[in-house]
Symmetry: C2
Subunit: 445 residues, 2 copies
């Protein structure tokens, strides 16, 4: 077996990098649970026809079949490419047993057969929250979800040093109501053209709207002006009003978006803006839409996106509307980790290496280790009764902060190998400095 | 989209069942980390040729390919069917960056295309620990691993009410040394026959050893007598000695196994026996072997198995011996969950439902919820400003223990809906009963 090479698009972490990831996932989970979201996991596979329904994405699906299955066996399966399709299926399958509105979070790997490049992976971890109801889903959940997500991302910033984020929010109904107020017949087509504004610039969008979509110059100018509005407070409302367009749907959209901005200003100040050019997922989102960039690393793309679906799932009788936000954990972490921007204080959970005086005395060292573990202190017993200098180097290579030298009976000494300080200690009472108890994750200097 | 049906062999959990699983996984992780094991995760896929090398198992592999890949594309992949093959590959790939002996735990899903039945799944979660070194791996790690695993399983028993376990341990060298001491030429073949003792009984094993393997009746009787020895203490040593066979390898095997039993008696009393008929994984284990049953549910099969590999991996120049134990989390949990033997006190993390007096007053309720969350108390804000009776029923359906009624300013009242007791409370100071802070997992009455 020669040395294997990494598979492009399937990132794997070193133990130290994995500690960073675990810290991130733990904090996401904790935030989601503080907001009453219940965890679910779904199987990795879905029937292929359920995955293939999703328009163009079928190109990227990984098909799964048993090595010795009959050719063209009926039960073809594919790996899920997101957590929304499986969640919709889970809701339908378990609707009788769920209490609605149902709040769930789901942190799992997903797979896409895309061409790998930075920011695009073939296997990656997503952390999704969704709220789904039967019939109708109250509008205030569109306000709630960005608070939860931004709260989670803010903890990553404050606790771990991950860069801060800026979430951009829009409401599909605002744009559609605006277009309808302008007596435009095909709002969806206008939306599609306006979505190109960052790529081709406002002038060419106006040109296309006039020449290809058949808008008047005034209509086209108004549409592009609308897309140019953005604000971190409710001032976007006046800016929209100043364009002089009126419709009921526009009013509804403005009110919803203003509510999001107002609440975010109160609880996650500086982290959310109304940005009226955000379109996202033109085919399925029907109301609020969200996307989120890392401040200073905008080029890495959106690290958290989502929106409202009027019909997340339907069994023909009942429709299940939902609103969801997904954090791209791998997309957030891999660029930071691969550039060495973030790391852990050590690559192991171990706080104390218990030295071994001789192989015959190994049981004494195991005894010390068990006493420390019983008090929540992670230990390893040295693998070999080498000279103490070698055992200290063993700890040092792993950045384990303390080495314990068992004495006779209950006596013993513990050395902080960073300072060299060595003191008598009792494994029933000694505790490390609080900040040494677990590896610390932080931006690297 | 009609109501989908579950896929046989791909178990999924309800939110309540998932809480049980999360409690189990959290405790496994905590125990592994207390013993200094570092977490890694490997990608779900391995090159097919790496998976197919493993003898017969290739029948059960799931092949993965992009939907629109060329027929017979060179880079065929399969889902991993265990965590050992990917770990061996990870060690080879990252050997330059790892410090040996390397201790890792790995908790992930694995996939096998087996015919689904109870105890056999197509997707299931394993929790593995392994210690791997370069060249040689010290024998005391064979003693250490069952302590860690039994410590983890004991926590599941004590904390969550999962039945206790009994681990059966043997050492391949003991049996081989014994056979060699009897001047038997083909110990591997004898081991293969003796392994059938539970299925066909000792008499038929003796018959086969004499008639097919060519042993004398005395040799065959001794082999079967050896397999009949089991003890929870070191008395197995005398029982083996009493059979009158001597060899160096036998002595080495006895000593290793006695060390395991002695240490287990000290730290996990009653949970481990030396059982000299245990064979397991005849093709790859070379020393200590482990298997573990749930006491009272022995028919469910082994919930934790493993052993020592003299060569877990090799790159031609360096050999990496290892010893590992794997806990079958899904195999342990699904029978308990599907029979309703174990459950959680509620299906949501939520401790407090903050009631909403009117939609206009929703910000007051959000404020209370945020104050409680800042102090680690999981909250939801009621989705609708219904009559309070309806909001209480909303909490009751989810077994959320408390409902908060925001008052004017900082006043408010909190009701324990189980007792009906309602008291004034300040969200900056109030705390629930300690046992209500998280869902409690326990055997069901």
């Amino acid at each position: 077996m020669s040395r294997p090479r990494p598979l492009s698009g399937f990132p794997e972490f070193t133990p130290e990098q994995r500690i960073v990831e675990q810290h991130v996932l733990d904090r996401l989970r904790e935030t989601f649970e503080l907001h009453g979201f219940a965890s679910i996991e779904t199987r990795a596979v879905e029937p292929l026809d359920r995955l293939a329904k999703q328009g163009e994405i079928d190109k990227e699906v990984y098909v799964v079949r048993r090595l010795h299955a009959d050719e063209r066996s009926a039960d073809e399966l594919g790996l899920h490419f997101d957590l929304t399709v499986p969640f919709a299926r889970y809701v339908l399958e378990n609707a009788h047993a769920l209490a609605f509105p149902f709040r769930r979070y789901q942190i799992q790997k997903v797979w896409r057969g895309e061409r790998p490049q930075e920011g695009r992976y073939r296997e990656f971890t997503q952390a999704d929250i969704d709220i789904v109801d039967t019939g109708t889903l109250a509008a205030h959940h569109d306000v709630e979800l960005p608070l939860v997500t931004l709260g989670a991302l803010e903890r990553l910033h404050v606790d771990l040093g991950i860069p801060p984020v800026l979430m951009r929010v829009n409401n599909r109904r605002l744009a559609q109501g605006f277009y309808r107020g302008l007596d435009i017949d095909d709002p969806a087509e206008v939306l599609r053209q306006v979505d190109k504004i960052d790529k081709i610039g406002p002038d060419r969008v106006v040109q296309t709207l006039v020449e290809q979509v058949g808008l008047s110059r005034a209509q086209a100018d108004a549409c592009v002006a609308l897309a140019g509005i953005a604000s971190a407070d409710e001032s976007f409302v006046d800016a929209v009003r100043a364009l002089g367009v009126r419709s009921e749907e526009l009013d509804a959209g403005i009110e919803l978006l203003a509510d999001v901005v107002r609440t975010a200003q109160r609880y996650v100040p500086g982290r959310l803006v109304a940005d009226l050019k955000i379109a996202r997922g033109l085919d399925y989102y029907t109301g609020t839409v969200y996307e989120t960039e890392l401040v200073g690393y905008e080029g890495w793309g959106s690290v958290s996106s989502g929106g409202r679906y009027e019909s997340l799932a339907s069994d023909g009788r009942t429709t299940y509307p939902g609103v969801g936000l997904s954090i791209g954990v791998t997309r957030l972490l891999v660029p930071l980790l691969s550039r060495g921007l973030i790391g852990a204080s050590r690559p192991v959970p171990t706080v104390v290496l218990v030295a071994v005086d001789s192989e015959d005395a190994r049981p004494d060292s195991i005894e010390v280790a068990e006493l420390l573990r019983a008090r929540g202190i992670s230990c390893e017993v040295a693998p070999k009764a080498d000279k103490y200098g070698k055992q200290i180097r063993f700890a040092d290579r792993r950045r384990i902060p303390y080495v314990w030298f068992p004495g006779s009976g209950e006596s013993g000494e513990v050395k902080d190998i960073r300072t060299g300080e060595q003191l008598p200690a009792d494994p029933r009472r000694w505790a490390p400095a609080e900040e040494d108890l677990r590896p610390v994750v932080a931006l690297q200097p």
